[in-house]
Every structure is written in C-alpha cells, then in structure tokens.
Amino acid sequence: MQLARIIERILIAIPVIIGIGIIIFLIMRLTPGDPIDIMMGQAGHVSEREVELLREQWHLDESLGVQLGYFLKDLVQGDMGTSFTKGRPVWDLIKQALPATVELAFFGAFFALLVAIPIGVISAVKQNSLIDKISMAGAFFGICMPIFWLGILLIIIFSINLGWLPTYGRISYDVNLQQVTGFYVLDSIITGNWPALVSAIKHLIMPSITLGFPMAAIVARVMRSSMLEVLRNDYVVMARAKGLREYTVIVKHAMRNAMIPTVTVIGLEVGMLLGGNMIVETVFSWPGLGRLVVSSIFVRDYPLVQGVVIIYAFTFVAANLIVDILYTYLNPKISM
C-alpha cells in the first residue's frame, strides 16, 4: 500500500505546516513593543493615516486569537502581505527570487552528492587506505568549517589572486539572456545561448561548492559507514562467492542497501542547504531568497522576512516528505 502511506505522510505534514505558521506568528507578535513602532522605527516620517492603515491591515486592534485566525487565513490564500520597503506583494518578490535560489540549491546538492557518494563508497571499499584517511580527514574538516569563511577563502584564491572565476552575481553584465524559466543554465540551453551558459556556469561554481561542502562531508561519512556495515553482510559474501565482478557486487548489491541511511541524512541535510543558502547568497551577492531575507532584516521589513521564512520552512517539510517517499521506494520492508 504505497499510495496509502504517501497520503498518510502528506496528511501528517499539514499540521506541521500550520504549527510552523503559528510559531512564526507568535514570535513576531509576542516580542515586546508595538509592532507598528518596531516596523516604522527606521522608516522615517510616517503619517497617522499610514499607521491606521497598517493597524487595520495587520488587525492589530483585535485580540491575539483573532489576529492568528486572520494570519492563517491569509496564508492559506497565499496572501503574505506587502513589503514595506519595496511596496510590492511579498509573494511577487518571492516568486521573482525563487529560481535563483532553487538553481543554486540544486547545483549545491548536485556537487555534494557527485563528490560524496563515490568518496564514501571508495573509502569503505578501501578501508584504512591512504585514500580513505585523506577523504575522511577532508570530510571532518567539512563538518567543522564555517561556510561563510570557505566562500570568502575561495573568492580570495580563485577570483582575486588567480582571476579564474567571477566574485558575485549570476551572470556577467555583458551577456544578454532571454529569460524563460528564470533558471539561467536552463534558459541559456533552451535559447541556445552558449556564451550565457558558460557565464552562468562560471558564476555557479564557487557558490555551489561552498553550499554543498558541508553536505558532501556528512553524506560521505554516512555513506562510508553504511557501506562498511553492508559489506559485512552475508549476501555480499554470497555475491562474491558466486564469482560476480567486484563492480557488480559493490554497485548493484551493496550500494543500493547502503543508500537507505544516506537518503535519510540527505533529507535532514536539506535544512542545512536552506540555511546555508542565506549565508552563501550573502557572500556571493546571489540575487535569491536568502539575500532577500538578510537584506530585509536590516530594514525591518517584517512581512517580507516572515514570508520568506515560511517558504523556507515549507520547502524543508516538502523535502522531507519527498525523502520519506523515496525511502519507501528504496526499502520495500517499510511499506507494510
């Protein structure tokens, strides 16, 4: 009953999403001080009329429970309010910044898995070899390293000293790209614009590595330890005894089972990816959600901050939902 389980997981996710909305609402409202005062603190001169309007828009004259009701109702209808500083609906701003963030997150995760899974497998197969020791030391560094520092270090080395890669943005200003989806790599392939593709990829390299590095470190460690466990199993010995090629034994028999714990960890790491996103976008001036939220914090644009945080939290819940579903596919034992 795969389908029933998937539906059950989706149903479980709904109260979680509502709960997240409530926590965000409470943190915003229970902070001491009049929200309007806090919001308007840096806005300079504000007329009585504008304050009235805001009070009405946020239902601040009602009780906390009624406010929460309005908040959730608007949220369900996709209405996240209007940004104070940009004067546009929050949802529009999010839609505009989303492709940049998704593109970066995708390439970050892509880099992480591309590097981590082979490293994990090779380290396990050649346990205690030099390769194993070097890669595990590297993975340990990856866990301890603050990524904002890694990003800056990469810029200092590869942009400033070697001049190989650009320091900021998604694409060079001298390249014209017709936007179709908002994903620059995809757009440049669709429109056959090769200079744009080269530029977009060049801009993606350092941010993706920075974002993916901690994830790669953790995935490599988990992959290695679950591979080690799997390789000790009877069916691996059996496969070898049957005279199967070592490649077949490892890739077809061992790896698939070792992927199960790894997939769980990947799901948890999506949270790191989203959080890291804010930092990496700030370091590389990447025009995505992370930079939008960090810059709106300093001008106290609360509706915008709140909207983006909710989107991040939803993405995290959705990612874990997908991982759960993937997990049932990888491990048929679960779906009983």
Binding site: I20, I27, P146, F148, I156, G275, G276, I279, V305
Partner: protein, 312 residues
C-alpha cells in the same frame, strides 16, 4: 551470605553513600583517563580546547594591544612577515587600525562563552523535560514531543536568523535564539533513554525499595544516561560556535566593533581585495576551535557511548 549491597541511601548513612559514590566516580575517572590517553585525536582535541579555554580566561591580560583601540594611522596593515607589516601587529590590522591578533584572542571568550552557555542551558532544559516526559509519559509527554517535532521541522539556521531578526542582535538574544531550539536534541535523547532504562530491573528494584520518583530519576536513571548527554553536549558545542559565528557574520549576532570571530570575518569581506588576512585568520580561529571540540567529542563518543555512533 555475602551479597553485593546496592548503594541505597536508606541502608547507609548519607556520608557513606556519598563517599562510595565518590570512590566509584574516581575509579571511573581513572579508567576513562586511561582510555583517553590511548586516543591521540581525543587528547589532541582536549589540549587545543584547554588552550582556547586558557585564552578565553586570560585573554584580556595577555593581549598585546587593546582589541578595540582604534588607530587610524595603522589601517589595514599586513601581517608581520609581509612587506609593510611590523611586529607591533603580528597578524596585521583592520580598516580602523585595530590589532587583529588581539581581536582574535579576545574573540575566544565570546565564542566559548556562547558555546558553553547555550549547551548548558539546553542540557538543563532538555534533560529535565526529557526525564519527566520519558518517566511519566501521558499528556505531558505527548505535548512536549509534538512541540519538539515541530521545532525540528525548522531548519536551525533559518529559525535562528528569524528569531534574531525579530528580537534584535546582542549577546543574550543570541543565547536565547540558539537555546530555543537547542534543548530539543537533549530532550529527545534523554526521553528515549529514560523510556528504555525504565523497563530495566534496577528501576523495579528501586521502586520496590520504596524510593521516590525523584530519587529514581536523579540517582538511579541519571547516572546511566549521563554519558550520552556529555557526548552530545560536546558535539553540540562546536555546532553552536559555528552558529554564533554565522549569525555574527550576517550582522545579527555580536556587532562590530565587539571582537567576535564571525563579525571580524564579515568586516574582512569588505576588504577582501586589499586585506585578505582579516577574514582568513579569524576564520582559522573558528575552524581550529571547532575542529578541536569535535575531535574531543567524537573520541568521547567512542569511549563513553559507542552506541551514539549511529546517529550522525
């Protein structure tokens, strides 16, 4: 009929009870140190960590310069081994002429204090709630466990960034934002352990002896789960230090010109082109401290609680 006497405060005088406990602790400690000394990476981590603790305590007395003294004539000086650098400023200066070496030493105190405080508060809250929830179960357990799940469904950094954005920067706000979610890990660990321990015979025996619930939780169960808490606490400390640095880097934590490592890296970012050393050395400090703490933590895990290896 010589049977092993269970250590119970009812049968012994209070003094004997604590003396026995102390002797046992001493024996365990000796055994632990024996294992630790055979674990080179753990010892290495411990020594580096203690060195940082020393810097944090003695920092203000040993820094060569006032870490917040502005000297506009000495702006952006390079480290001493480079052209234009001097032994006056070992690692150079920042854009206000503040001595980088002194600032990094002074920053140790903030990083370690945040790490120790957030982890200690998280341990206290998480352990107390975990003990109660795991021992009594019922409605309290359901409510707490749901709340914990809810907090876990937030990516940590996003939650911290959001909280800091609302409550504003500063040391105590930082501690609040990090512990608000930090206790959950300990809560889940302790709750799970207590539920497992509760089914064991020694708890039944203690109950049969008529010990109070509080006694059973604090004196019987706690000693058995303390190791896992210590291990998780150590590993969490490195994480908390990175979180503090990340928030300070974004300008949401400790604010410039206070000497916090994250904010030093942030200032260095504006001067990457001309003064690479500012960000680089402050980041090295974070990396080395977190590396040492995690080496210590992973060795503690291998020695005290190999079971935890599974949760990574």
């Amino acid at each position: 009929m010589s049977q092993i006497q269970p250590i119970s405060p009812d049968k012994m005088s209070k003094r004997d009870y604590y003396l026995t406990r102390l002797r046992l602790t001493g024996k365990n400690f000796k055994e632990f140190m024996g294992k630790m000394s055979r674990n080179p990476s753990g010892m290495f981590g411990l020594i580096i960590f203690l060195f940082f603790v020393f810097l944090a305590i003695a920092g203000p007395y040993i820094v060569p310069k006032d870490p917040m003294a502005i000297s506009l004539t000495d702006r952006l000086l390079p480290p001493f081994w480079m052209e234009g650098g001097s032994r006056e400023h070992l690692l150079g200066t920042d854009q206000l002429g503040m001595d980088l070496f002194s600032r990094i030493i002074a920053g140790t105190r903030i990083s370690l204090l945040i790490g120790v405080l957030t982890v200690s508060i998280s341990i206290v809250i998480g352990t107390v709630l975990g003990l109660l929830a795991g021992y009594y179960r019922g409605i309290l357990d359901t409510v707490l466990a749901r709340f914990a799940d809810l907090l876990l469904s937030f990516p940590w950094l996003i939650f911290a960034i959001f909280t800091m954005a609302v409550i504003g920067p500063g040391f105590y706000n930082l501690v609040f934002a990090l512990t608000f979610k930090g206790w959950v890990g300990f809560f889940r660990l302790v709750r799970g352990d207590v539920m497992a321990e509760k089914t064991k015979e020694y708890v039944d025996a203690a109950k049969a002896l008529g010990q109070s619930d509080l006694n059973i939780m604090a004196r019987e169960i706690m000693p058995n789960i303390l190791n896992s808490i210590i291990v998780l606490g150590t590993l969490r400390m490195g994480f908390m230090i990175i979180m503090e640095a990340s928030l300070s880097f974004l300008g949401l934590g400790i604010q410039y010109p206070e000497p916090a490592w994250g904010s030093i890296v942030n200032i260095g970012r504006d001067h990457m082109l001309s003064a690479w050393w500012i960000s680089t050395f402050a980041g090295v400090a974070i990396l080395v401290l977190v590396l040492a703490i995690n080496m210590l933590g992973e060795s503690l895990r291998d020695i005290l609680d190999p079971r935890l290896r599974r949760i990574e």
